[in-house]
């Protein structure tokens, strides 16, 4: 069963409690999501590392029950 936006947000916030997390249902089909994660923890890390941190928070769902997640990560301004 596909993951819900709420579940994605919960997992990311559990790993990054102080992050700003916005989840978007891109196709309206509950299977193609976008996520913007803004967090101080990302500072000094490459984009690949930042995305790997978010994928780790998703506990193996990425590429499985979570088919597609357009991910955007950043540090607070």
């Amino acid at each position: 069963m596909a993951m819900s936006a709420a579940e994605i947000e919960r997992l990311i916030k559990a790993a990054f409690p102080e992050a700003q997390v916005v989840i978007m249902d891109l196709a309206g089909d509950g299977d193609h999501f976008g996520a913007r994660v803004i967090c101080e923890t990302f500072r000094g890390k490459s984009r690949v590392q930042q995305h790997q941190m978010v994928y780790a928070a998703l506990q193996g769902h990425m590429g499985g029950t979570l088919h597609a997640l357009a991910l955007e990560t950043a540090t607070p301004a």
Binding site: R47, V48, H51, Q52, Y55, G60, M62, G63, A68, A70, L71, E72
Partner: protein, 111 residues
């Protein structure tokens, strides 16, 4: 991932300046994300090699463990993992991808 698969992946990556692990082949991508990266490389006029992971299940799973990246496509430049669709697209639009290719001496990269 078995050692032979790891060795095969390392050989593939070492053997190409620009290598795209994708679903399908450049002329017929089997996934929108893979197709997007083929188009980006074409627009930058970058010669590249590709691996159709749909034809090679061991590499399809092995490459995810190899790069600690759970999805495909995956782009490698001079042996280094650059990113998946999101990151490469972002780098393309910001000009970072062309700059990286030029810095790595990849022939033909248009800025």
């Amino acid at each position: 991932m078995t050692d032979p698969t790891r060795a095969r992946i390392e050989g593939l990556i070492a053997g190409s300046d620009v290598l795209l692990f994708m679903k399908g082949v450049p002329a017929a991508p089997q996934c929108g994300f893979s197709g997007a990266l083929v188009q980006i490389l074409a627009r930058l006029d970058v010669p590249f090699d590709s691996v159709d992971v749909l034809a090679d299940f061991a590499v399809r799973e092995g490459i995810k463990a190899y790069s600690n990246w759970p999805t495909l496509p995956q782009l490698y430049v001079k042996g280094e993992f650059v990113g998946g669709c999101d990151i490469v697209r972002e780098m393309f639009h910001s000009g970072e991808l062309a700059a990286l290719l030029n810095a790595k001496g990849v022939v033909g990269a248009q800025s």
